[in-house]
C-alpha cells in the first residue's frame, strides 16, 4: 500500500468513526473550553479571548492526547516552526521561528530554571506528569519577564487537582530505544491543604542510527578509489553528524503544598529533584537539579492582591567513569536565588501591576579558568497599566528596568498592546521590546574545546541582545448552531509579525591565543525575522476535532545559520481528533496528527529538504479509570537520508503502548 493510500485509509477510519458512534457527546475534550484563562501575556489571569497578546494555549487534553514525556516531545507536535535538534554533545538545542533556544524563555509556574545544556535549560526537567496547561507567547516579552524573553515565552502551568484525593500510576513502553516511562502521582485537597506529588522515571537505550551504507560497502569503495578503479562516490559521502544516540535515564520528583491560611492569605511551598544520566560510550554524564520555592499571596479582593515569593534552583553536571569514579574534569554548577514581589491594584475598570525581582546567579564550570567561579545580581522593577477604555477597547502598557551587576549593563524594555473587539472578530496590535543579557558563561568562558587546541573565549564587554517586536493579529471564535453536523465551536487566528533582532551574541574568529585558534563571544549585527502564523480549529459537537497550525517565516540580515538548527520557511502541524463514549465502560480518544517542515532557509543541500511525520494515537478509556494508550509514531516510516544535527531523530515507525490507572476511581 502506498503512503498516500495508507493516509487516505487512516483518514477515512478516523472520519467515519462518528458514524459508528451511539450519541454525540464531548466527554474528553477540554479543548472545547470556550473561555479558558491564561496568565502569561499580562502576568494576571485573563480570559484567553481578552489576552492583550496572542497566546497559544496547550490544554490538558492536548497534553494527554500527545502522550508526551516532556516539553520537548509535546512542543514539536503542537507548534509549527519549532524544532529540537542535537548539538555535538547530544544535548538538545531549540529553534523557534528563527530564534535559538536562548532567545526563548521557559518558565515553570512563572519561575525560570537554572542551568543549561546546549542553548537553554534541560528540557528533560520539564516532565508533563503534573502539568495542567502550557501557554506560549511568541515575540518579545521582556517588559514583563526580563532577560531571554526575546523570541517568545513558554510558561508551563502546574495542575491543581480539587478532588478530595487522586492517585494515578502509569507506565508506557516505546519501541524507539526500548524506552520505558513509569510515573505516579498523588494529590489531596482537604480543608486548608492542597498537595500535589508526582514521580516519573524514564529509561531509553542507546539507538544506533542506520547508515545509508554498511562500513563494509564503504571500505570496498575506498579500496576501489585508492586503486584508481571506478567507484561510487555516493557511498563515501555520508553527511551524517550522528551515528548513535546515547541512552539515558531520568528521575523526576515534584511536590507542591498549598496552605490556605485564611480567606486572604495563601502560602505555597514546592520542591523538586531531578536526576539524569546520559550514558556515553566512554563515560556517563550526570545531571542533578534541585529546586525549591515558597510563595505567599495575600488577596484583599479578587483584583487586589500582593505576592511575595522566593525560589532556589540549582543545576549540576559531572562526568563519571563506568566504574563510578567522578572525573571532576566536567564539573558544572549553576545556582539561582530569586525573589519576586508583585502587587496588583484595581482602579475601577482598569488595573495597575507593580513588580520587582532580585536574582543572584552563580556559576562554576569547567569552561572557566580552573578554580574560578562567577556570580552576578540582577535587579529589576516593572509596571503595567491595563486600561479598559471602552468595553471593546483595551490598551495594556508595560515598562521594565533591569540591571546586571557583573556587566553593569542596564536594559529598559517596553510593551504596548491594543485589543479591539469587533462584533465579529478581535483585533490585536502589539509592540514589545526584548533583551537577553550576556550569561556568565558568555562573559567569562575560557575553554579549550575538548582539549583539541581550540579555545573559546568569553567577553566581559558583551552587551545585551536586543529585539523589537511588532505584531498584528485578527482572531475569530464562534459557535455554530442549528447546522446539523457542523454544530460546534470554531476558531481562527491570523498573526503577522516582524522581529528586529540586534546585537546578537555569537562567536567570531578570535585569532591565535597562545598558539591555538580561538573563538570569541561577540555582539554581531542582527537579523530581521518576518512571519505569519495561522491557527484554526473546529470542535464539532459530535466529537470530532480538526486543528491546523501553519507558520511562514523569513529571516534576513546577518543571518547566522548554526549547524545545530535550520530555520525553515514553511512548517505545519495538524490534528484530527475524535472522542466518543461508546458504552458505559468504554470510551475512545483518537488522534491522527502530524508535523511537516519545509526546506531549510540555509539552502543546505546535504540535509533533508523537508519532512513530514504522522502519528496515530488511540486512547481507550476502560472500566473505572483504567486507560490504555497505543500510538504509532512516524506512521509512514520516514527516514532521514542522513542524521545531521537538526534532523528528526527517528529511525522509522515506532510503536508505544501504555497503561494509566486512576486509583481513586478504581478503589
Amino acid at each position: 500500500m502506498t503512503d498516500n493510500l495508507k493516509l487516505l485509509f487512516l483518514a477515512g477510519v478516523v472520519l467515519t468513526m462518528p458514524v459508528l458512534g451511539i450519541s454525540a457527546q464531548t466527554a474528553f475534550r477540554d479543548s472545547v473550553e470556550l473561555n479558558p484563562v491564561v496568565v502569561t501575556a499580562s502576568h494576571t489571569p485573563k480570559a484567553l479571548k481578552d489576552a492583550p497578546v496572542v497566546t497559544r494555549l496547550i490544554t490538558l487534553h492536548d497534553i494527554k492526547i500527545a502522550d508526551a514525556t516532556n516539553i520537548q516531545d509535546l512542543l514539536i507536535q503542537e507548534i509549527p516552526g519549532l524544532e529540537f535538534g542535537f548539538a555535538m554533545s547530544q544535548e538538545t538545542s531549540l529553534n523557534m521561528s528563527g530564534f535559538g533556544g536562548n532567545a526563548v524563555l521557559f518558565l515553570v509556574d512563572g519561575d525560570r530554571m537554572a542551568g543549561e545544556t546546549m542553548d537553554n535549560v534541560d528540557y528533560n526537567r520539564m516532565s508533563l506528569d503534573n502539568v495542567g496547561r502550557i501557554e506560549i507567547v511568541k515575540g518579545a516579552s521582556s517588559a514583563l519577564y526580563g532577560s531571554n524573553a526575546v523570541g517568545g515565552v513558554v510558561n508551563i502551568i502546574s495542575r491543581e487537582n480539587l478532588e478530595p484525593w487522586t492517585a494515578n500510576v502509569n507506565s508506557r513502553y516505546n519501541t524507539f530505544g526500548h524506552e520505558w516511562r513509569n510515573g505516579a502521582s498523588f494529590s489531596f485537597n482537604k480543608a486548608k491543604w492542597n498537595s500535589q506529588t508526582s514521580f516519573q522515571h524514564t529509561n531509553i537505550d542507546p539507538v544506533n542510527l542506520p547508515k545509508a551504507h554498511s562500513s563494509e560497502e564503504i571500505a570496498f569503495e575506498l579500496m576501489k578509489k585508492a586503486q584508481g578503479l571506478p567507484y561510487d562516490e555516493s557511498v563515501l559521502n555520508d553527511d551524517s553528524n550522528l551515528s548513535r544516540l546515547y541512552g539515558q535515564k531520568t528521575y523526576n520528583v515534584k511536590e507542591r503544598l498549598t496552605w490556605r491560611a485564611t480567606d486572604r492569605l495563601t502560602l505555597t511551598g514546592r520542591g523538586s529533584y531531578f536526576f539524569r544520566t546520559s550514558e556515553r560510550d566512554t563515560h556517563d554524564y550526570h545531571f542533578n537539579a534541585y529546586s525549591a520555592g515558597l510563595k505567599g499571596r495575600y488577596a484583599w479582593s479578587r483584583d487586589r492582591h500582593l505576592e511575595l515569593s522566593y525560589a532556589y534552583d540549582q543545576y549540576d553536571k559531572a562526568n563519571f567513569m563506568p566504574n563510578g569514579t567522578r572525573t571532576h574534569d566536567h564539573d558544572y554548577s549553576n545556582r539561582q536565588h530569586v525573589a519576586h514581589l508583585r502587587y496588583h491594584h484595581p482602579l475601577g475598570k482598569n488595573s495597575l501591576l507593580l513588580g520587582a525581582d532580585y536574582m543572584n546567579d552563580y556559576l562554576s564550570t569547567y569552561q572557566f579558568i580552573a578554580g574560578t567561579s562567577h556570580a552576578q545580581d540582577n535587579i529589576d522593577g516593572y509596571a503595567q497599566f491595563d486600561w479598559n477604555i471602552t468595553p471593546r477597547l483595551n490598551v495594556v502598557g508595560s515598562v521594565r528596568y533591569d540591571y546586571f551587576s557583573a556587566s553593569a549593563q542596564k536594559a529598559l524594555t517596553q510593551r504596548l498592546a491594543v485589543v479591539y473587539k469587533f462584533p465579529w472578530m478581535t483585533f490585536r496590535a502589539n509592540y514589545a521590546s526584548g533583551f537577553r543579557a550576556p550569561t556568565l558563561k558568555e562573559m567569562y568562558m575560557h575553554f579549550d574545546m575538548g582539549n583539541m587546541g581550540y579555545m573559546i573565549m568569553g567577553n566581559p564587554d558583551l552587551e545585551p541582545e536586543k529585539s523589537n517586536n511588532f505584531n498584528v493579529a485578527v482572531e475569530r471564535q464562534n459557535r455554530i448552531r442549528n447546522s446539523g453536523i457542523l454544530d460546534g465551536v470554531y476558531s481562527f487566528t491570523l498573526m503577522g509579525y516582524c522581529n528586529i533582532f540586534d546585537k546578537r551574541i555569537t562567536t567570531i574568529d578570535g585569532g591565535l591565543y597562545e598558539g591555538m585558534e580561538s573563538a570569541l563571544y561577540w555582539n554581531e549585527d542582527g537579523v530581521k525575522v518576518w512571519g505569519v502564523d495561522v491557527s484554526m480549529g473546529h470542535y464539532f459537537d459530535w466529537g470530532l476535532t480538526l486543528k491546523l497550525n501553519y507558520s511562514w517565516m523569513h529571516e534576513a540580515g546577518d543571518v547566522y545559520f548554526s549547524q545545530f538548527n535550520q530555520p525553515r520557511t514553511h512548517s505545519l502541524t495538524w490534528r484530527i481528533g475524535y472522542g466518543h463514549r461508546f458504552a458505559r465502560h468504554y470510551a475512545l480518544d483518537a488522534a491522527l496528527s502530524g508535523r511537516s517542515q519545509g526546506k531549510p532557509q540555509s539552502g543546505r543541500s546535504d540535509v533533508d529538504q523537508g519532512y513530514t511525520i504522522w502519528r496515530l494515537m488511540l486512547q481507550h478509556h476502560l472500566w473505572r479509570g483504567i486507560h490504555l494508550n497505543t500510538a504509532v509514531d512516524n506512521l509512514f516510516n520516514y527516514k532521514p537520508k542522513s542524521y545531521y544535527y537538526c534532523s528528526p531523530l527517528t529511525t522509522g515507525t515506532s510503536f508505544s503502548v501504555g497503561v494509566s490507572v486512576d486509583l481513586d476511581r478504581l478503589l
Binding site: M88, S89, Q90, K211, S214, S215, E216, I218, A219, F220, L222, M223, K225, A226, Q227, L236, D238, D239, S240, N241, L242, S243, R244, R280, D281, T282, H283, N319, M321, P322, T327, D329, H330, G450, N451, M452, G453, Y454, G515, M516, Q563, D606, Y644
Partner: protein
Amino acid sequence: MKFKSLMTMTMAAAALVFSVSSCSSDDDEPEVAVAEQAVGTYTGPEVIMVMGEESSSGTSTYEFSKASDTAVDMLIPSSGEAGMMVIPALPVKNIPLSKVGNSIVGKIDSYAGKVSNAAGDEKAYTISDLAVIFEDVPKGKAVAVTFSLKYGNMPMTMETTFTGDRN
C-alpha cells in the same frame, strides 16, 4: 492437482538435498589461514572527519599483526599535533577475518579499550562500525579501513578512513 503438488514437493526436496550437499562440501574445507596474508604495516592516506567536517588528513601507517589464523590485531597510529589533543596509538584486538571473493574482510561492530596518554592518564575509547578489507593489487597488498572512534570525554565521533599499501 495432486500430481502438480507431488512434482513441486519432489523438486523442492531435490533442491534442498543438492543445496545441503553443496553447503556440506564447503564446510568440510579447512579454514584458510587468512591472517598470515594480511599482516604487515601499511602506509597511505588517512582522513578523519569530525561533525561532518574534515578534521585532519595525512599519511599514516597502520600495523596489522596476527592474533590467530583467522584474526588480526590492528594498531591505529597516534594522531594529533603538539599543543592540541594527541590521541595515542590505539590497539583493536582480534578482528575476525574471512574470505569474500578475492578480498579478505574483517568486521567489528563495537570494540572498547583503554589506553594511557602522554600525561599518563588512562583514557577509554570505543571503535565502532569497523571494516577492514585486504586485497592483492599490482603493487602487492593493499588495505582499506573505516571506523568510528570515540575517545575519552570528547563528545564528537571521529569518522576515520584509511587506505594504504603494504610496506
